[in-house]
Symmetry: C2
Subunit: 238 residues, 2 copies
DNA sequence: GTCTATACCACGATAGAC
DNA sequence: GTCTATCGTGGTATAGAC
């Protein structure tokens, strides 16, 4: 090649990809340990060995960095969720049956097994806490990343549980989401209370124990006080 | 009165009790909305109409104020929990039976119904988030307030579920705590996903739906891979 | 396009006047 | 018991070097 270099990343002062990933790794760890508002950009950039303003250049500030930390992990996780949910639907097309346990597995599994990805253990705790932790604005930002697949999950789960009214579904999902987030957040509270050494980082144990318990909760008959009707889908008139 | 005033609280510049409660109310609301690190002492004192340094005088800083917000609500809540748990034990002494549902009710009920107390609705969300939200140090501080009664609950629940190994108990408690905290934290996520208007602030609906679901989860037989033994207390070999 | 140096205002905390 | 002044540090923004 001659003087005018058509390859933009041929010889940058520093490697941008390296700078970005160093920032993401440091931010992931520190956000997980101290929460969004509990860490300073100066601490993150110091840990990453990157200049403060360079972080602003790449991520447009703290919120942008926070969001980028999530995007890196959530995008592949969503793909796995979508794939497993589709497998449930395929199974339904074949057998005419939709197993609530399989649907739970397709949604919770990727969220729990994420700690198996290299370096993602910090993200597991971070994402568990993020569902409640930050300010409403920050939560919305994160929720957006999950929205499409989460809505799909809720829809399929509702189909798998035709005995449940919308009201039932709401509260059972509270138990499902609550358990999933509590395990991901891994506060250490139960180890402390039980004086035991079981670890929530053990994703296969988590799945083995939690899915059947949540499935048993889903199997409980409707508890909706069906005054008038109050049942689910279709003509949900007032 | 002449120059030296022997009565300390006769005519203070402002009423200390008023100052304290105004600060607690403002802090409770703002901490619930934005988290510990998401609010400034200046915002809290500004909302309360109290001077910044006066807040430091009364609560020794931000952490002290945070802890005081919890103490005000948790102490009476613990008393109710202890009372209801004792009722479970009395019932057991009479009938020889310990109902897991009743034990769940005794522990979760006071935590959910707390939003019925005047002004405590903010605290419900705050306490739900606090289980994961703040830094580890701040979490320890809060956990201490719950410790005694929580340990008692775990113990009684274990007795009510003799079919469960310690390992089972660990994961079922994760579901129980997860659901309880998720309902208290009330992130608005499920309303958004379901497009429905059910409110987690409705404590009687929450109890009506959640207790039977969690109880069904407790009723699931042991899932512990009892290799060797792994079972719980005494010598209930596999 | 990538990064460094630096300046800005708000924060939590404290000392000392009233 | 309450307030003012002040200090070190936080997130953010910009100017300009490479």
């Amino acid at each position: 090649m001659q003087s005018s270099d058509p390859i933009p990343s041929a010889a940058p002062t520093h490697d941008p990809a390296e700078t970005r990933s160093r920032l993401l790794d440091a931010a992931e760890q520190l956000f997980a340990e101290h929460g969004f508002n509990g860490v300073s950009m100066r601490t993150i950039t110091g840990t990453a060995g990157v200049n403060l303003a360079a972080a602003h250049y790449h991520f447009q500030g703290k919120e942008g960095l926070y969001r980028a930390v999530f995007e890196r992990r959530v995008v592949p996780m969503n793909e796995e969720r979508a794939r497993l949910l589709q497998a449930c639907l395929d199974e339904e097309a074949r057998t005419g049956q939709l197993d609530p346990s399989a649907v739970l597995d397709a949604f919770i599994g990727p969220a729990i097994r994420i700690s198996a990805a290299p370096g993602a253990d910090n993200f597991r705790r971070l994402s568990g806490r993020a569902s409640a932790d930050p300010s409403p604005e920050a939560r919305r930002t994160i929720y957006e990343l999950y929205d499409t697949v989460a809505a799909r999950f809720v829809d399929i789960l509702a189909r798998a549980c035709p005995h449940l009214a919308q009201e039932d579904l709401f509260w059972r999902l509270a138990c499902i989401y609550g358990a999933m987030m509590y395990v991901r957040a891994d506060s250490g509270r139960l180890q402390q209370l039980l004086g035991s050494e079981y670890s929530m980082a053990d994703s296969s144990a988590a799945m083995h124990h939690i899915i059947p318990v949540l499935a048993a909760g889903l199997a409980v008959p409707s508890l909706a006080k069906s005054r008038g009707k109050g049942k689910r889908r279709s003509s949900r008139g007032s």
